[in-house]
Amino acid sequence: MEILVILVPLALMLGLAGLFAFLWSLRSGQYDDLDGAAWRAIADDEPPQDAPAKR
């Protein structure tokens, strides 16, 4: 049962890490535009601008 000394704090640390990740994402405005974010994930990348034409 000594394993609890490692496992319980480990579990709590993981939980806290998740919580802080959530709070960080909230603060950085990732929940401000849920519709847009859904589309951005599948949008094409911007074509490289001012890139020299290839051949």
Binding site: A11, L12, G18, L19, F22, L23, L26, D32, D35, R40
Partner: protein, 729 residues
């Protein structure tokens, strides 16, 4: 005369040498629009940020100070095909956003705590029936307390605050039993843990908060979304005024930047955005938005004009007497305040439910404690059982019953083209059994239409349309639009108050008053619509007359029939003249109508209906409707409505058809039905669970399973509000 536009009012400094502006953009619907706008704007040199928010339909822009004018962004967006306007965050919306972030943070904390406490609870539950050592159980309970107590203190804030507010106002709401339940459950669990007991309820208390916060977040998101849409509408409609900045120089500025004493120019076809007095010029003005009267009024030096009037024929110079917020007629505002106060007395379904619920639950818990003591149990066991009753009856499902339906139903309404302005609108709309329509702009379309377009030869009509492009007169604009004209005729001359003329292929063409075109004979001979404005068009000797008026909404007749089929009383209350109202009432088959009604009369009529016990839905758009919209049980406005009415209305509908009115009533009725069903489901669950709790055999495992089971059931039931009937009319 030199005209500039000045939007510096909306620009703010975002950092070292960087300026920021928010624009509301119309017509952004998909990822394609988003990419197009962002690329189009980023291509402008010195733009450092261009980001579209698809949910709120807005663009945030930042650029290096001193190089660019915000006008260039609006012009660029216009080139891309989007109408944009600077957006200023209202304080009400900023509060909603802050509130919604706070609730999300609370939900995050509560969800984290629930998951971790559960992780500790499940070993205890299984350990209790196997070989767990009491020391290990205590250790797990203490750990749970360590997580649950601070988490509940933080995430419970929305409930504790609201409960405290209610109690200090000597009323009660749903949050009172919630707060009592959570505090007692936590308190008892701590005491039990100290005494090395087998059961602790940390998991139940924190899980309850998590489920309830889900409901709160959904509710808040709905409100925030409506606010954002309403804010955009306000921005896109935001009036600007042409203010004189020099003797011969005018600047187009937002109304917020106009002050009393300024002089503004009012050109033909423009809507006045301020209250003031005419100091120069002569024109006809359309005050239908203010009075409902569709006949034009003559304005000359000394005439008072009000915000919302449309200038028809001549150019006016107006000295501003009241600007921005103060523009509204004092009379209307006063009536509005009174009416709004009356309405705030409406008690929401959730509050009514909790008013019945709280005393019953608390009495049951008390009786349980006393009952066990009388039956010979110790005080400790009796109190533990009593608290278990409170925990198991904690209105978890009850708290979700209404917000979940509201969220789903408002989403369905949004798709049908209806926006909700207030949270309890769905409940009130579902009860409506009498609909009062305003005529101008509500039953009729707000824009003018050429009624006899089919009788005019297409080539003549097209030419008339092209000529009309050279005039500012709203009737001419309607002709141009009906003819689909795009290229104006070169060299067309407008004669103020008369019409437009031009020479094409050596033949003179004219469009304007019948006398201007020499077509009086035609007007005298024909039987004409009394409401229509008549304009004539002549090409050499060929002459036609066009009859221009506001047409009925395309599906008005079908909507009225659909409302009748739903057993709803219908009537028209209009400020317009009698013949015009009779014509509309006949066309739609509405038996009850009143014409020439003032705002005060409208309220009187609504009060009269209220006395008889009718629940009135008022549908109106004009400024003169605003007080009656507020006085009615529930109200609705088309999107084209005057600012004030839109702000007052509970619901706003989009587009040309009237069908959203019926669709909204249908979804609201269905939603109310589901809300009641959910309340019964929640109560039914309590009726089953309470005897178990009273008998004292509830374990934390049973409490947790019952709570999540009933909450999920209620949420699933709410989803049924989504497939509201597609068949509208």
């Amino acid at each position: 005369m030199h005209v500039t536009r000045d939007f510096s009012h909306y620009v703010r400094i975002a950092g070292e040498g960087i300026k920021h502006i928010d624009l509301a953009v119309e017509g952004v619907h998909c990822a394609g629009c988003m990419a197009k706008i962002e690329r189009g704007l980023s291509a402008i040199p010195d733009v450092t940020l261009a980001r579209v928010n698809l949910t709120d339909r807005r663009v945030a822009l930042e650029w290096k100070q001193g190089t660019l004018d915000p006008i260039s962004f609006i012009d660029r967006l216009a080139e891309l095909g989007y109408k944009a306007y600077p957006y200023e965050t209202e304080s009400a919306e900023a509060t909603e956003v802050a509130e919604s972030r706070f609730l999300l943070r609370c939900l995050g904390v509560a969800a984290f705590a629930t998951m971790n406490v559960m992780m500790l609870s499940i070993p205890v539950w299984s350990g209790n029936v196997s070989d767990m050592l009491p020391e290990q159980r205590d250790f797990f309970h203490w750990l749970s307390a360590l997580i649950a107590l601070p988490a509940a203190a933080y995430a419970g804030q929305p409930f504790f605050r609201s409960a405290w507010r209610a109690l200090s106002a000597k009323t009660t709401n749903m949050d009172v039993p919630i707060s009592i339940g959570v505090c007692l459950a936590l308190g008892m669990s701590v005491v039990e843990t100290i005494h090395h007991a087998e059961h602790a309820y940390f998991d139940a208390a924190i899980m309850l908060l998590t489920f309830l916060l889900v409901g709160r977040v959904l509710d808040q998101n709905m409100r925030r979304r409506t606010r954002a849409v309403a804010g955009n509408l306000a921005a896109l409609k935001a009036e600007t005024a042409a203010k004189f900045v020099g003797p011969d120089e005018i600047s187009q500025v937002p109304v917020a930047a106009i002050h009393p004493g300024d002089i503004v120019l009012l050109r033909p076809g423009e809507r006045c955005a301020v209250d003031g007095t005419v100091i120069e010029g002569r024109s006809e003005i359309d005050q239908s938005l203010i009075t409902g009267e569709t006949l034009y009024v003559t304005a000359e030096r000394g005439t008072a004009v009000y915000a919302g009037s449309m200038n028809i024929s001549g150019t006016l110079r107006v000295r501003v007497s009241a600007a921005s917020e103060a523009t509204l007629l004092a009379e209307i505002t006063r009536l509005l305040d009174n009416a709004l106060q009356a309405r705030s007395r409406y008690m929401r379904l959730a509050d009514r439910a909790s008013r019945l619920y709280a005393p019953v639950v608390h009495a049951t818990a008390l009786i349980t404690i006393l009952g066990w003591v009388i039956a010979g149990a110790g005080w400790h066991d009796a109190v533990v059982t009593g608290v278990a009753v409170l925990i198991i009856t904690c209105p978890c499902a009850l708290g979700l019953a209404i917000p979940t339906v509201q969220t789903v139903a408002s989403g369905a309404m949004f798709k049908a083209g209806v926006l909700l302005n207030s949270g309890d609108a769905i409940e009130r709309l579902a009860e409506a059994d009498h609909v009062i329509f305003d005529k101008t702009g509500t039953l009729t379309l707000p824009d003018l239409e050429v009624m006899n377009a089919a009788d005019i030869p297409p080539n003549v009509f097209e030419l008339a349309g092209r000529l009309a492009l050279s005039s500012h007169h709203p009737v001419a604009a309607a002709v141009a639009q009906a003819a689909g004209a795009r290229s104006p005729i070169v060299g067309a001359v407008e004669e103020a108050g008369q019409g437009v003329r031009a020479v094409v292929d050596g033949v003179e063409i004219r469009l304007g008053r019948p006398s201007f075109c020499g077509a009086e004979a035609l007007v005298g001979g024909a039987t004409l619509d009394p409401e229509a404005s008549i304009v004539a068009f002549s090409k050499g000797t060929e002459k036609v007359i066009l009859s221009v008026r506001q047409g009925l909404r395309p599906d008005a007749q079908a909507v009225i029939a659909a409302l009748k089929a739903r057993n709803v009383g219908i009537e028209i209350l209009s400020g317009d003249r009698e013949p015009a109202v009779i014509a509309a009432a006949h066309a739609l088959g509405i038996a009850e109508w009143r014409a020439g009604v003032t705002p005060a009369d409208k309220i009187a009529r609504i009060e009269e209906l209220k006395q008889r016990g009718a629940k009135v839905l008022m549908v109106g758009d004009g400024m003169n409707d605003a007080p009656s919209l507020a006085a009615a049980h529930v109200s609705m406005s088309p999107i084209s409505a005057a600012h004030l009415s839109q702000a007052t209305a509970d619901l706003v509908f989009l587009g040309r058809p009237l069908a959203p009115v019926v669709a909204a009533i249908d979804s609201a009725r269905k939603a109310l039905h589901l809300m009641r069903q959910n309340l019964w489901l929640a109560i039914g669950y309590n009726v089953l669970a309470v005897p178990v709790a009273i008998s004292g055999i509830v374990t934390p495992l049973i409490a947790a399973a019952a709570m999540s089971g009933s909450s999920i059931l209620v949420m699933l039931n709410s989803l049924r509000a989504r497939n509201a009937s597609r068949e509208i009319v």
